[in-house]
């Protein structure tokens, strides 16, 4: 049976368990004189039986579905004749995809060596066996556990407390998923990063000024080594983020000030949602806009001024990214400006200061830490932004500060290194994970600092 039908079946079993539990609690209560002699309502007895039935079943199903492919692959590889057993991970994945192609019928068995065709047959057989076992195991576990739960229904049993305790644990598990996700990110990225540093030295990665990730197809290939110096990527990322900030900070901040201090309610209620629309537009749309409209415009403009500009200039990607970040900056600064107590404003105005003087000399300094926090958050956004730079910035890793030249960023390289098929033991793919680790650390650091600043500042007026 397919995993999805089996899932459905488990739910049906749970429903049956619910009905049986419900009726058993009622029939137990009847001789005692009605359900008021039960410790809990019949609903809870039913729900308890259903939970007893479904939780073990789902656990078994989930584990089986998650690991069956890996186990089957190991069994298939293990049963190959000695001369075919792959020695590296790369050849192993190649061989496996060959076997599974034969098994799925995409590749006729006559095209491959007989042992591979046999392995494909074995793969098919193992898959079928695995499904049979899984179906049998899940159904028997569910039925058995449900039966046990059903058997233990007593009028004195506090089913409600048990059901609520299980639910509470379930809720807890959902909340703890956030921790699991973070751990997942850290481990998956860290593991590959350590493997990367096993191949490429620490010093080269952090201090190298040359980035051209290549892996040798043959041992004697020219330039087989490849260069993995992240400095050009890092400066490229910073350059584009800087341009984005130059666009986003003044525009975002000034519009926040205008909206919170000058604009009347009607203007505010129309302009604010419009600004927020900028934040709702998917990044791929910005990327499209940057690559096909802004970049040609900038290079044409530069050409007409007699300057040479690349058609994938950092300026195009950066300025469009700035537009994307405007609402981010403006709504964060809006919050901070509004949090400054009205008394400060009134005091300054009462002394005869104009609104702009109040803004510049009183409110802005008071709101500055919060605004800085918001800007740091925006910077972390810009560093991690992917689609705009993938579409509008280039691939060439130039170490330059000229915004009209092509630069590349950390995220662009991650995407280019990891799209398409790849083997998982080349320095090239591992480099993507190392870059991901750096990106994760950088954004994490920025966020932590920014949140600290914002929080510390907020407490001042409470």
């Amino acid at each position: 049976m397919q995993a999805s039908t089996l899932l459905l079946l488990t739910f049906v079993l749970a429903l049956v368990a619910y009905g049986l539990g419900y009726s058993r609690s009622r029939s137990l209560a009847m001789p005692l004189g009605g359900i008021r002699h039960l410790k809990s309502l019949p609903f809870y007895y039913g729900a308890r039986a259903a939970l007893w039935c479904i939780i073990p079943g789902l656990l078994v199903l989930g584990m089986w579905a998650a690991f069956q492919d890996k186990v089957i692959q190991m069994l298939v590889i293990g049963s190959l004749p000695a001369e075919l057993v792959p020695d590296t991970e790369g050849t192993a994945s190649l061989l496996l995809s060959k076997i599974s192609n034969v098994a799925s019928g995409a590749l006729p068995p006559g095209f491959v060596e007989p042992p591979v065709a046999e392995a494909a047959e074995r793969l098919k057989a193992l898959r079928q066996q695995s499904q049979v076992y899984m179906t049998a195991l899940v159904i028997s576990v569910s039925v058995l556990a449900g039966f046990l739960g059903w058997l233990r229904i007593r009028p004195r049993l506090n089913a409600r407390a048990q059901v609520e305790a299980i639910l509470k644990w379930l809720f807890f598990a959902c909340a703890a998923l956030a921790i699991l996700t973070t751990m997942g990110i850290i481990f998956s990225v860290a593991f590959e990063t350590f493997r990367f540093f096993g191949k490429i030295s620490f010093v080269e990665f952090f201090f190298g000024t040359n980035w051209s990730p290549q892996t040798a197809l043959r041992a004697d290939q020219v330039a087989a080594e490849g260069a993995f110096g992240m400095i050009p990527l890092f400066t490229g990322t910073l350059l584009i983020s800087l341009i984005a900030m130059v666009v986003a900070v003044p525009v975002g901040l000034l519009s926040a000030i205008y909206l919170s201090e000058y604009a009347n309610k009607r203007v505010r209620s129309t302009v604010k949602p419009l600004l927020e629309m900028l934040a709702g537009i998917p990044t791929v749309v910005y990327g499209f806009f940057a690559a096909l409209t802004v970049a040609p415009f900038i290079s044409d403009l530069a050409a007409s001024l007699g300057i040479e500009a690349s058609s994938q200039s950092a300026l195009a990607a950066g300025s469009v990214m700035g537009i994307m970040i405007i609402p981010f900056v403006s709504s964060l600064s809006d919050d901070v400006i509004n949090a400054v107590p009205q008394t400060l404003r009134d005091g300054s105005l009462a002394l005869g200061a104009t609104q702009s003087e109040t803004m510049k000399k009183v409110i802005f300094p008071a709101a500055l830490p919060g605004i800085m926090g918001g800007i740091l958050l925006a910077v972390s956004r810009a560093i991690g932004e992917t689609m705009i730079v993938v579409m509008a910035a280039g691939l060439a890793a130039n170490l330059t500060a000229n915004p009209l030249e092509t630069v590349t960023t950390v995220t662009v390289q991650i995407v280019t290194l990891l799209t398409g098929d790849q083997e998982f033991d080349s320095a090239k793919t591992l480099a993507a994970f190392a870059l991901g680790a750096m990106l994760f650390l950088a954004t994490l650091l920025l966020n932590v600092i920014a949140l600290k600043i914002v929080r510390k500042y907020r407490e001042q007026y409470d």
């Binding site: 509470k168 998923l177 901040l253 000034l254 519009s255 749309v285 910005y286 096909l292 003087e357 966020n447």
Partner: protein, 424 residues
């Protein structure tokens, strides 16, 4: 006395300057807003300007003479003969008849006006109606992409017209005669991706997006709500709860591409799940949207007044009953609103899906959660990278479709917030 007056004098003299500064400051504010809003307008105008023509297709209507001898076929119900028969020749002959000056030497030039897939259309039609053999039928076919580009953008310098002068003259004539015509591009909404721009559509991407969003919604909404309930109602005040909260807040700010790395390392490499399928995409997007949903659900739970809780507790409800029977239904509209916004974010997300392989060129419309698929934003990315301007036009049109979805989702969220959310 004199001192005071001179001070007042100084203030008065400076007033003009100060007011001017004030006005300038205000003008800066207005300018900033104008810049932001004009960016929005330019963006929309650019996309609509580039893409509106993507909703138009160019067709040619021909009287096709289905002559068995010319097509090397004598029985249209025979599969084998249908496979071997020549369906290009009748199209060329029909079009030649429409162009008076065309001679046999122009055959290739004439053929290049018709879409390469038109013969397939003709074959399918004949297969469906075997008795058409030997008759003359009036049928409508797609034109070649080059004709499509010429008809739509003939006077636009940005587009390179690939038709020869002679072909252009023919197309102009046919346009006048009404044989070549433009109409609403239904192909765009009923096809998957294709190498030929005029046959490429977004249906595959839309279905892929819907499947992915379904997985995301089914997983992230219950999990997010459960997590919010735990954190708001049951979590004890301790270090571990703090740790969970710190994690959620940080995950909300982690770049989306990192989730792609996670999906690649965990779901694909560790668990051996297939690449480019909606299930894996949905799982990755679930992890990405969960923080958003948890945060907005918590706000919704917080806004339920304590009096409700106290009243329920007062008549003997357990904590869980209070939450499930009273707090949750009242907080539901707020939670749904937050989830719709989270879903809208997920729908527009591209980067993590690139890493888990949803960038493959897929022609077929996916028919299940484990079928290779692509999603709308990735389709936009793929077409935008194409050197052919006809694909750029499709990419803009696909963006418009995507934005329509997003705007209607956000409008739904706003409507729900106004209609359903209770203020206490």
């Amino acid at each position: 006395m004199t001192d005071q007056r001179s001070q007042a004098e100084i203030v008065r003299q400076s007033l003009k300057r100060r007011y001017r500064k004030e006005r300038r400051f205000r003008a800066y504010g207005i300018l900033a807003i104008a810049i932001a809003l004009s960016a929005l307008v330019i963006l929309f105008a650019d996309i609509i300007g580039k893409g509106y023509s993507g909703f138009v297709k160019t067709t040619v209507t021909l009287d096709v003479q289905l002559d068995g001898e010319m097509m090397y076929i004598d029985d249209a119900s025979d599969e084998r003969q249908l496979k071997m028969a020549d369906f290009v020749e009748p199209l060329i002959q029909a079009l030649m008849k429409e162009i008076p000056g065309a001679t046999e030497e122009d055959r290739d030039a004439v053929r290049d006006l018709i879409n390469p897939y038109a013969s397939v259309t003709l074959r399918d039609a004949l297969q469906a109606n075997p008795d058409w053999l030997g008759t003359t039928q009036t049928m409508t076919f797609l034109t070649h992409t080059d004709v499509d580009v010429y008809v739509k953008h003939g006077d636009d310098d940005a587009y390179s017209i690939k038709l020869t002068e002679e072909q252009q003259a023919w197309v102009d004539r046919l346009l006048e005669q009404g044989a070549i015509d433009t109409s609403f591009n239904d192909v765009f909404f009923s096809n998957g991706d294709s190498r030929d721009p005029s046959k490429a559509g977004v249906l595959g991407a839309i279905v892929g997006s819907l499947l992915t969003m379904f997985v995301t919604l089914v997983l992230s909404f219950p999990i997010g709500v459960a997590a919010a309930i735990y954190l708001e109602e049951f979590a004890p005040q301790n270090k571990f709860t703090d740790f969970i909260e710190v994690n959620i807040n940080n995950l909300a700010a982690v770049p989306s591409i990192i989730f792609g790395l996670l999906g690649l390392a965990v779901f694909i490499n560790l668990f051996g799940m297939p690449r480019s399928v909606p299930v894996v995409g949905g799982l990755v997007l679930t992890l990405m949207t969960l923080p958003t949903i948890i945060i907005s659900s918590r706000a919704a739970i917080k806004s339920v007044p304590p009096s409700i809780r106290e009243a329920a507790e007062g008549i003997g409800a357990s904590k869980m009953q209070v939450v499930l029977h009273h707090v949750l239904p009242l907080a539901m509209p707020g939670m749904l609103t937050g989830s719709i916004i989270g879903m809208a974010q997920a729908l527009g997300e591209t980067a993590p899906l690139l890493l888990i392989g949803m960038v493959a060129f897929i022609v077929d419309v996916p028919d299940g959660f484990f079928d290779s698929a692509t999603v709308l934003p990735v389709q936009v990315f793929l077409w935008a990278g194409s050197p052919e301007l006809a694909f750029i036009e499709r990419a803009s049109a696909a963006i418009m479709v995507l934005l329509t979805f997003l705007i209607s989702m956000n409008a739904l969220a706003i409507w729900m917030r106004k209609r359903l959310e209770r203020r206490w």
